[in-house]
Amino acid sequence: MSSSIASSSSSSSSSSKKEKKISLKTSDGEVFEVEEPVAMQLEIVRSFFADNEDVTEQTVMPLPNVSTAAMHGILEYCRAHEEFRRRMPEAAPEEEVRAFEAGYVDRKSNEELKEMILAANYLNISKLLDFLTGVAAKRIENKSVEYVRAFFGVENDFTPEEEANLRREYEWAFEGVDED
């Protein structure tokens, strides 16, 4: 089978050669040494190394818009997906991926989730951004207006009359909603 050839060649190349690491520096100054295939999932990193001829393996790439906390979350996700890809290069083990992703976001607070959305956007990891925005949507779908305001940290700048008018205009959208 072609799959066995592919997996044996990839494992031999990764074990024989010393794994290449990429250094990434977060907004609060911490430097992360990241395995190359994991770092390359970050589109911003991939294009930085692809487009700049004068960067070397020693180059530390600054990521001023990403906090250390967000970086830990991002790398956990990317490492898990790299592991899935390495183990099953042809088709990801869907159930395992789902189980990982569910457990992964359950541990994140709303604040952490939003921070990671911003980081995933800045780092340009479209798969993670799709996943996290979907999770954010799930967290607010059946929630009250007040909950959603708090979730996004929105200050209500409507007067009570303005809000009442809007509620009248969108009346259909507020029918049969369980406020919780």
Partner: protein
Amino acid sequence: MGDTIHPRDRISKLPDFIVHHIMSYLSVKKVAQTGILSKRWNYLWTSFPILDFDQTYVRGLDMTCTLPLEFTGWQKERFNKFLVFVDASLLRFCKLKFSVQKFRLSIGPLDVKGSSFLLDKWIGLVVDNEVKELDIHLISEKTLFYFPRTIELDDMYTLPQKLFSAKSMTTLDVCGCKLEQSSGSAGLHFLKNVKLDNLTMRPANYTAFLDGLFYICYPRYLSIEAYGGNFKLFIKWLYRKLRNRDAKCCNSHAIMCWRHYLKDVEIECFEPFCSEEELVDIDNVNKELSDLPLGNLYFRLDWCCFSEPVDEVKD
């Protein structure tokens, strides 16, 4: 210092497109609710490029595919209010001059003659705003909801000619409307997916319909709803027509019809409405066309380059 910024302040600066990204996973009702969060969010809601209007979201109007065929007094009032809402939302969005990603409208029962002015206006607006996906599901007042569902073409809404200038359109999904082009040639080059539902017509009209459709576009995928006896008859006819093209028709003309450009046709897949239905084996689908369960049948069409028509056509 970066870490002095409170997370809340940063979140309030979530770029518009990320908010829209989150909105794309939310139900239509929920998206509309975000319009009252704050002034900025009202703008974010107004500028959300997926314009999805389905009357079943409105309580009291969520009775599709069931009798009666007419609204009662209070339903009529709610329905008219919904139309006003659709109109106002579309006008607000289109004033912003952003492209429409998707316009979906699902309404009825409808007085087709009385409403066509409004429908023409809405489709015109989204076409002017470079609509990519258009999904129009109408139920005419005259539709009968028992098998076989029959509605004569005369009682259907005719999509406006403006539609044929929708150059950026990639997906067209219509149900209960007529597609007819009165002049000009095919211009919808980006149109790759065409889905046609609730197409009930007499067998005498089949050829005119197919010629009309392929006059305006050369879709990669064509999906037909298999629903009731007439549809099966139509699907069988369609598959035979697509496979065995008699192209002696316009050999003497410089401009030739679609039969000269269609290279190949395959049945791509069959999606049963009821998931418990057994999957239909595509290899046997030709034999089983008359036994298909309810569902959507997808054809994949291969067109050749339009400067070089296919020389030989099967008969």
